[in-house]
């Protein structure tokens, strides 16, 4: 099972906003360079514990953050 997941975004502003939203909700997340196996519009991605994937998705949707895709990190 994957330990981490990443959320990918179209813009850096969206990634930075996602970080704030997740941290505000008490989740442990980190902005990292977008892993090269994923094609992304933006150079940074939000890494999170994969077990929290549903919670991250729900939080970002509720905050209106435009997420390109969410992927598990192998």
């Amino acid at each position: 099972m994957s330990k981490y997941g990443v959320a990918l975004f179209h813009t850096t502003s969206a990634a930075l906003r996602a970080e704030k939203v997740a941290q505000h909700a008490g989740l442990t997340v980190k902005l990292i360079p977008t892993p090269r196996e994923f094609s992304s519009d933006c150079g940074i991605a939000l890494r999170f514990d994969w077990v929290a994937a549903a919670r991250v998705q729900e939080l970002l949707a509720a905050a209106g953050v435009d997420v390109d895709q969410m992927r598990a990190l192998e």
């Binding site: 502003s13 902005l31 150079g43």
Partner: protein, 380 residues
């Protein structure tokens, strides 16, 4: 020294602004949004935090609809050049700054109408309703005059504009951080602001806020270039704010702007406004007692910002200006304040005025001393 030129740029700045700028250079020297390492991300966070602070101050619908620019002029140019097409009807006022008039005069093929204003600068709402005809594309309105501080009825003009199907662009160069502004409640579709006046940030900062009702797809980008996003494409992205922020942003300036906005929010818009009304009232009342002197603009401080213009019969404004500086340590601006249209409305073209513009750090003692200095300069 008494600095009364806040309408040109505010000085001094809060220590927090200078500290934020030094910190940006010392700790977050990366290029925001361009790389994935920690210095770039930290720079990006500082820029994003400033975006959020600006959005909260003006009640913007979304921080990503805050576009950072070099100044208000840059923001106005983005809006006008991006929105207007040949044949569009545009309505503006007789109190505009050249930041609005020059770009409008430079766009070919638009149908431009100018709403006249009274001698104190106040907009004629009945004429606004006549000129803003159905199908008008855009109304451009100065929130408050840089010459004499006259505050325009933005919400009323927004209602007229929206009934006609037009968007409203407000030039808030003189009012951001000085008057409460709520873009959603006031019906402002596009708000252009500068960072280095009432918001207490450094020069080289400003922005354009796109209201919820504005389709950004209808605004062609003023500049195109790298954004750090959608790098595989040679087309400008449509995503906000990237579409309108090509090229490396002024990160250090935006760090200072963010600190300035937070300072303003902590002080409180109502407290700032109350202080500035007292300053304006003291200036207007004091100057009015000096023989031969005429104050231009509203006589009621509630109807203007703390920007007060005057002329004196038979005296050159330039001479009054240098006497105030050299003999009384009072710094102000004299002449035409980049707003020939406004000076024609006020009847002060082409000689111009002496403009006294205190700010948030100016005290009542300062403006009382300035009034005495004016009286002495005119007696000389």
């Amino acid at each position: 020294m008494i600095y009364l030129d806040h309408a040109a740029t505010s000085w001094p700045k809060p220590p927090e602004v200078m500290q934020a700028m030094a910190d940006f250079l010392a700790r977050a020297g990366g290029n925001p949004g361009r790389s994935g390492h920690r210095l770039s991300i930290e720079a990006g966070r500082i820029v994003y935090d400033a975006r959020e602070a600006v959005a909260e101050l003006f009640n913007a619908p979304d921080p990503l609809r805050v576009i950072f620019t070099l100044n208000a002029t840059h923001a106005i140019n983005i809006a006008l050049a991006g929105l207007l097409r040949p044949g569009d009807r545009v309505v503006t006022s007789g109190m505009e700054h050249n930041a609005v008039m020059r770009p409008l005069r430079g766009i070919e093929g638009i149908d431009l109408a100018v709403i006249s204003c009274r001698r104190d600068g106040a907009l004629d709402l009945a004429e606004a309703a006549r000129l803003i005809t159905p199908g008008t594309r855009l109304v451009v309105l100065n929130h408050a005059s840089n010459v004499c501080g006259t505050i325009q009825p933005v919400a009323e003009v927004a209602a007229i504009a929206h009934r006609a199907g037009a968007l409203l662009l407000v030039d808030a160069a003189q009012t951001a951080g000085v008057l409460p502004i709520d873009v959603q409640r006031m019906g402002i579709d596009l708000l252009a602001f500068t960072g280095h006046k009432g918001l207490l940030g450094p020069p080289g900062t400003g922005g354009l806020i796109l209201g919820a009702g504005v389709d950004a797809g209808q605004i062609a980008p003023f500049m195109r270039g790298g954004t750090g996003s959608r790098s595989e494409s040679e087309e400008q992205p449509e995503d906000l704010p990237d579409k309108f922020e090509a090229g490396t942003p002024n990160g250090v300036g935006i760090a200072g702007l963010g600190a300035g906005v937070r300072w303003v929010r902590a002080r409180g818009m109502d407290a700032i406004r109350t202080h500035e009304v007292a300053l304006a009232h003291t200036l207007i009342a004091g100057l009015a007692e000096i023989p031969g002197l005429k104050v231009h603009g509203p006589s009621d401080a509630e109807l203007c910002t703390a920007t007060v213009s005057f002329t004196a019969a038979g005296r050159r404004v330039s001479e009054i200006g240098w006497r105030l500086d050299e003999e009384h340590d009072v710094l102000c601006r004299v002449g035409l304040h980049c707003a020939p249209a406004a000076h024609r409305t006020l009847g002060t073209f082409p000689e111009g005025t002496v403009r006294l513009a205190p700010g948030v750090f100016t005290t009542l003692d300062d403006v009382q001393a300035a009034v005495r200095a004016v009286a002495e300069a005119l007696a000389a």
